[in-house]
Amino acid sequence: MSNDVTENPGATEVTDVAVAPPLSQRARSFAFAAIPYAVAVLAAFVVVGIIITALGHDPTEAFRAVLTNSFRNQTGFVQTLHKWAPLTLLSLAFAIPLGAGRFNIGGEGQMILGTVGAAAVGITMSELPMVILLPLVILVGILAGAVWAAISAWLMESFKINEILSTVLLNFVSFEVLDYVASVVWSDPGAGGAVTLPVGEGAVLPGIGRPPMHTGVLIVVLVSVVAAVMAKRSVAGFELRAVGLNERASRLHGIRTGRVAVTSMVVAGALAGLAGAIEVAGVHQRTLEGVQSNFLLLGIIIGLIARGSLTAVPFVAFGIAVLEVGAGSMQRVSGAPVEIVLILEGLILLFLLMSDVATERFRRARASRAAKGALA
């Protein structure tokens, strides 16, 4: 058979270390990919619209809120970015170990420890000047998250304890830790919730613009660029994926599989911890019960929708952030019950995946037709 080896028209794998198709192609396939997603979102809106109308509310108002809230004004956009930052970090914290075939479900625990560490420094050393305190706060947050993840990694390597089990359980432990810190150690007496005292002035990330966007967003931009490049080009990125694809073969070819897996978990923890530190230093100026929000689940979803491609993560994360910010204001604007938001998000996810299948089948059909054509 003829070895007509092309530089891969339309690589099947959408992963970082897979050979990337030429730019023009990527651009075209990008546009091509956009359509079904739009359709999927639309379909979800239609279904939910019917429900909302049936409940006697105005769907158009609701959807206007969901779609435009992020872009209507400065405020909406800043909010979106503030959501985007932790979402991106937590989905990286899921996607990186996933590359090595490990499931880190502990993102929220690691993030919580990050906030605790950051708050601890920010509160106890509140007198320090910003140049020292702020970096310290961020650093300690990162470390705290990394250590928390390292526990799971250690249990995984040394005792073969499944990481899903350990991370889930450690999440629950971290809730108690947070509860203790926020309602006992540095509890704010006036607060009606488990909330710590505010951190010192020097521990607050400076803001940009009006309304201020905290500079944590820039840190996250930097991090996601580095992550994407590392995954695409670096040895570490390659070894990570190799371990995920075939652990034995990797070890036989000189990859320290155990070390790679452990490192991926610890790095994930560090990123989640950074997310925590940024929430403290950028958004809340303190840590508090529920600071982890639903970032873990959304992070997992983002990571999986991006099919583990660290390059895609920030973009998917932005889409989800827009949805989240918009959905949040939906009720106040339209009066539709708040549960609708969950239903809408669930449907959008389902339909997005289904549209993926649809396009895939369509592409395959086209390919085989092309092949037949070539034969004739």
């Binding site: 108002e61 006992v184 007496p189 919730g193 009720q331 106040r332 009066g335």
Partner: protein
């Protein structure tokens, strides 16, 4: 059961609600159909609506999202923003600073430091109410062991327990309080398990300081003969759900407080602290099955606190 929508474009976001129609946006922490803290919030809001204000609200708002909700509400032209629940105070104060020409009503347990000029606080003073509950429980208890079931071990929760202890002291009885915290105001299952254990440990009066979780405390009494132990609740009258061991509830009402604060704001008084107490909408509602002497004692306690004959100390010192 949801708020009527207001058309943001129509209402201009022009500042102090002085004179013209107030556009109120409220933030609730849980579902407004919880027949509990959020329900009374919505009731107050609806009352304001029938008094002529224009309303909208968001429910089930997490503390992490409240700032976003607030800024949006302001952006959509609300002239008065009310956050129902003191966990929202910090975010409210923060947004208030950034929007000086909008009025804010927040809740806070105590007097906040550097309260912005456009913020009213409602101080819930739970310790006052729980002094009454302390008297109530002491009267009801035969075994002299009183169980207190809280959610998160927050300062206000500590204050409640200390107030009850003060009540026991003042009454000279030798009852003891076993306080427990389920870790979640809305986890009824945990509440049921804790209550069962408290009852097992000899407590015969359970004072609940929960939200939706309170149903768990009632459930724990299932299968016990009437009169064998009492359970009390907080925020709303729960007689319908509680069953025959229900002794009563420390009921809070925000209709009057909200109306009065809105009135003051309308009158141009943009900053202040509204104190909740037995004189302003707080009462202990008792079921008919409660013995008369207990009723009397509680009524007296409420009077004393109101009149100031009894000074209830606000003590948030840690317990267990």
């Amino acid at each position: 059961g949801c708020g009527g929508s207001d058309d943001p474009e129509a209402s201009t976001g022009d500042g102090d609600g002085g004179g013209d129609k107030q556009v109120i946006a409220a933030i609730f922490s849980g579902p407004t159909n919880d027949a509990d803290y959020n329900a009374i919030g919505l009731r107050a809001l609806k009352a304001a609506e029938s008094a002529g204000a224009e309303i909208s609200f968001s429910e089930k708002v997490a503390v992490t999202d409240v700032e976003a909700r607030l800024t949006e509400a302001v952006g959509d032209g609300a002239t008065v923003v009310w956050t129902h629940g003191s966990q929202f105070y910090d975010a409210t104060a923060k947004v208030a600073k950034n929007n000086p020409d909008v009025n804010f009503i927040a809740e806070y347990d105590g007097l906040p430091k550097d309260q912005p000029a456009n913020v009213w606080t409602i101080d819930r003073q739970f310790h006052l109410g729980f002094y009454g509950m302390g008297v109530f429980a002491t009267k009801l208890s035969k075994t002299g062991t009183i169980g207190y079931v809280g959610g998160l071990s927050l300062p206000f929760s500590m204050a409640e327990v200390h107030a009850m202890e003060q009540a026991i002291e003042d009454s000279g009885a030798k009852a003891t309080i076993k306080p427990v915290w389920t870790g979640d105001f809305n986890d009824a299952a945990k509440a049921q398990q804790f209550t069962t254990q408290l009852l097992g440990q000899g407590a015969d009066v359970i004072v609940g300081s929960l939200n939706v979780g309170s149903t768990g405390t009632f459930q724990a009494f299932e299968g016990r003969p009437a009169g064998d132990g009492w359970v009390t609740a907080k925020y709303t009258d729960k007689s319908a759900a509680a069953g025959e061991h229900y002794a009563g509830s420390l009921v809070y009402d925000f209709d009057k407080p909200l109306a009065e604060v809105l009135g003051k704001i309308g009158g141009g008084e943009e900053k202040g602290n509204y104190l909740l107490g037995f004189d302003t909408g707080v009462t202990i509602e008792m079921s008919d099955s409660v013995p008369a002497d207990a009723k009397a004692a509680v009524d007296k306690a409420m009077e004393d606190v109101k009149s100031g004959a009894v000074k209830v100390e606000l003590n948030t010192a840690k317990i267990g």
